[in-house]
Amino acid sequence: MEWLTPLVAPFIVLNAIIGIVTYVTLLERKFAARMQSRVGPYRVGPHGLLQPIADAIKLMMKEDVVPTAVDRPVYNLAPIVFLVPCMLIFATIPFAPGLGVADLNIGILFFLAVSAMEIVGLFMAGWGSNNKYALLSAMRAVNQVISYDLPFIFSALVPVLLAGSLRLSDIAAAQAGLWFVFYPVVGQLAFIAFIVSTVAAENRAPFDILEAESELVAGFRVEYSGMKFAIIQLAEYAHVVGASFLGALLFLGAWAGPGPEWLGPGWFLLKAMFVFLLVTWVRWSFVRIRVDQILALSWKVLLPATLVLLIAAAIVVVWRGTPGV
């Protein structure tokens, strides 16, 4: 039985994640609808609960239109190259003490490194489509990703410093006494920086210039249809959900919560959904900002701010004597 675990655990996690990601789309649509005084999806199933399933079936049955001028191998591979890193990021996330695929000792670095690979798939889609909108979108994506990867990494490193470990389960365990978001000043500022750079790194409004529907139609995925389009959407949402889980783990104490221990994964999921709704709230509240404003926010505000935060966290750790709360 022992040898089965490395095969079964990823299978379960992968399917659970796909399930969560599918339903997160419904959550977002309902949430956005309520913000705009609408009801949102309501017809399919009770309260529209079967809507994601219907969407998935619809996308699977759709015709797969491939333009003649595309760079075929690149065009066909792009959705997969895009999806793989977005799924791999869940590999190191511990959903409860000892419950996860792999609790690496460089957990957070693995997460950051793998999620940085996403841009390769995005660029393959943008280039392979042989479409000016797709290419412009991919160019903007590179601009944005280069700018916001650094604040994202630096703000995620603040909890690492406070906990004194790169292992995600250690970081979660270090918050047993005090969640890092409640850590005076440093914690709150790092959380805000994390949320802002997550919104930007996920290319969501107000930072969604790469899919700006009024100018670029749908950006890098404009030539994709059917299942390939579905895979790209799935990957994007999986990335957002992965970043939400990371935020809940780094700042909100992961599985800590009242009640018996087996409720831990439930608490973790709730907190991750809270972070997801925070990101969604930002998305549906602000208008798109210009590219120079996006770059200025990253290089002139977020980057110096997160660097100062990192140094402040280091000073706190040295001053307290030992890493960890």
Binding site: L112, A113, M117, V120
Partner: protein
Amino acid sequence: MSADVLAFWFLAIVLVGSALAVVLTKNLFHAVLWLALALTGTAGVFLLLDAEFLAAVQLLLYAGGIVTIVVFAIVVTERLVGERLSQTSRRIGGGAVVAGGVLALLLNAMRGQPFPAARPEMAGDLTRLIGETVLTRFVLPFELLAVLMLAALMGAIYFARPDE
């Protein structure tokens, strides 16, 4: 054959194949994608040798960062400026001779060296050890490298500034 050996041969084939593809494909963009695969394969080799930290940094900096910048450069020159770039490997013969020479040199250096049959057991947390040695024993080279990078950065900005 153990899983380690199997994984090594798999990675070796991927690495050599993609590295050859980098220099032999005509399409410059495809070459960069092969390069990304080769760099990811290198990260796999690091992972196989229990150097997780190096593997993660390899992915983060090379496969994520460097490839992105190279792709950016190609797109700016080829698609937006309109200049058609294609990779023409004109001196395949000469290249093969140089590559063969390097191979012979490496084999010569390695010959007679005893290779341990088993990987040495790594003691303790490697990532922690890397951090500690870099910031204690090797702190001077580390800082010098940082200064070098800064100088390179300033140089790049100097050359990139618009003409007055």
